[in-house]
Amino acid sequence: MNRISKKLQEDKKLLSIYFTAGYPELNDTKTILEKLETSGVDLVEIGLPFSDPLADGPTIQASSTKALQNGMTTEKLFEQLKDIRESVSIPLIIMGYFNPMLQYGIEKFCEKCATIGIDGLIIPDLPLEVYTKEYQKTFLQYGLQNIFLITPQTAEERIRQIDNASEGFIYMVSSASITGAKNSFGDAQQTYFERIKNMKLQHQQIVGFGISNQETFQKATQFTKGAIIGSAFIKHLTENGTQHIDSFIKQIRM
């Protein structure tokens, strides 16, 4: 069974961490992954940096720019992850924009992911319709779960379509925003989380965007399976390098 599906069966709220590969230093990828696993993180999204990350706010943009300056490439990332399954066993997802994957070659990209032991992909600018028509077969062939996003503006009918095409979990964007834009949740989010919960979808939801600490983690997971922290973790890396990852994670799940 896919590691993501297995993780989703565990009786706990899941904490997922996003970081940009190649940041703060080119070769930090493996160290960060190992430390995240030891500190009790449930799954990790490894960001493949892109020159033009449309859905990301300034923090992740800056980390992508720096990672590219450091020399990060798709090939380099695969090289860094070559033996990752010897030391890391939690589910790993690659999150990136579609163009670098397209240039690498979709089939070759999926094959590489499967060899390494990547469990899923999040590609914000690969729309549902194009995925199901052109790429679903290939993704499934290599055992890769494609994770879709929904937002407070996504219509109910479309949420059902996304649920039908999904594998693993549904990535629930907490509010109309790019990443790192907000750091608190109000009534609107609570209503939205509850509304989605009441839809009784086939796939569980993990919330992303706007989660930065224990309080927002708890609020986000009240009605969902888990939550994702991205920008706040990138800020931690900016200030501390790969030090104190353990204490960053522990204070979220106190």
Partner: protein
């Protein structure tokens, strides 16, 4: 129009186009896609649009027979005078249309991206006209290069927001405008300035610019007793003026379409914006098209002396015209364009925008017959480029 040169139902020109957008943009794009044809086709929309084009923009723009230029190149050259539009370029044809569309969609706030500032000014202008708040994203570097246009936008009541990410130019301003739309999904309309972006933008902007070729047909019939020229020449950055000048001729095979890209300091100099020569297939700003990118799929920074052609992609219509060989693609260096700008100024008393000067420079590369009719789309005037001309020619 069922031929392959126009967009199909799925939003593609051949293999190019589509809407590769994050889910956050889906509701807005879906709404536009569902309604743009009905809105643009609606009679009251057309009446209002045509009236504004006539009384406010100053259309039809003249189709001017350039006597001395024709003599120099020994052929019959007409200039389509988009430079005489209000605000100084063809960009306003699109913004007038899109602001009327935004009103019909019930939107209350307008955002736009701009490179040289022409589209930003055209957007700020129609927002002032309609009393709508206007936010224009512009690369920090471009704001310095095009200070007069920044001042014009401010004068018109728009807020100009510097883009400080990436390379701090047009592509980053476009990214930031898209991010603004993600953050403000409900009351905001994004007026894209070129035939780029996710479907339906390329087709919508092409339709709003198609007034250019619609007028050429009528005007040429008067002057030459035929609707079709032998050649139409237009410059291409994203490609909106070319899309407008080509539109009604796309399926008329007797008309040779010539697209001119900016070669910058030379195709192989590493400082160029000639996408068709240097690019390959990929996705930029939500559209599958030709773009300049690294082997690893990172979008590269283009260069041209003309800020309006300084874009690392072309619209999907142009990618298709290139791939299907329906249009001929030429590229013109900074030096050739500047020379062509100087020539037109001295021969015809018209100072062209440096973008449009690229189209004029094609006359040096192509040999036309004396009885052939060549229409050049003079997309903008050179007022905004005076400083560049001054520096270049030590005026």
């Amino acid at each position: 129009m069922s031929t392959t040169n126009h967009i199909n139902k799925e939003g593609y020109y051949g293999e190019y186009g589509g809407a590769f957008i994050p889910e956050m943009l889906y509701p807005n794009i879906a709404q536009l896609k569902a309604q743009y044809l009905d809105i643009i086709g609606d009679q009251t929309f057309q009446e209002e649009y045509q009236q504004l084009l006539r009384d406010y923009v100053g259309r039809p723009t003249p189709l001017y027979f350039a006597n001395r230029l024709s003599e120099k190149y020994n052929t019959k050259i007409y200039l389509k005078r988009e430079d005489l539009c209000h605000t100084g370029a063809h960009k306003v044809n699109n913004t007038v249309g899109q602001i009327l569309l935004a009103k019909r969609l019930g939107k209350k706030r307008i955002i736009a991206e701009t490179g040289a500032g022409q589209h930003g000014v055209a957007t700020a202008t129609v927002c002032a006209l309609m009393g709508m708040p206007c936010f224009v994203y512009m690369g920090e570097i471009d704001m310095k290069r095009q200070a007069p246009n920044v001042a014009r936008m401010k004068m018109l009541g728009a807020e100009v927001i510097p883009s400080t990410s990436g390379s701090k130019t047009l592509k980053d301003a476009t990214n930031d405008a898209i991010r603004d739309w993600i953050n403000n999904p409900e009351e905001t309309h994004y007026i894209i300035g070129s035939v780029v972006g996710p479907h339906p933008y390329p087709d919508m902007v092409a339709r709003l610019q198609s007034i250019i070729s619609q007028e050429i047909k009528v005007q040429l019939l008067e002057k030459e007793n035929k609707t079709n020229p032998d050649h139409i020449i237009a410059c291409v950055g994203g490609g909106s003026n070319a899309a407008g000048a080509f539109y009604h001729y796309l399926d008329e095979k007797d008309v040779n379409l010539i697209a001119v890209e900016a070669a910058g300091k030379g195709i192989n100099s590493g400082e160029s914006a000639a996408t068709s020569q240097l690019g390959n297939n990929g996705i930029i700003h939500g559209s599958k098209t030709l773009l300049m990118q690294s082997e690893d799929g990172q979008i590269t920074e283009p260069y041209s002396i003309s800020a309006g052609l300084d874009y690392p992609g072309v619209g999907p219509m142009h990618a298709h015209l290139f791939a299907s060989k329906r249009a001929e693609f030429l590229s013109v260096t900074d030096d050739e364009a500047m020379q062509a700008g100087a020539n037109l100024s001295k021969l015809e008393g018209i100072i062209p925008a440096i973008e449009s000067a690229h189209a004029l420079a094609a006359l040096e590369q192509k040999k036309f017959q004396p009885d052939e009719v060549v229409v050049i789309n003079l997309s903008g005037r050179g007022d905004k480029d005076l400083e560049t001309y001054m520096d270049y020619f030590n005026l």
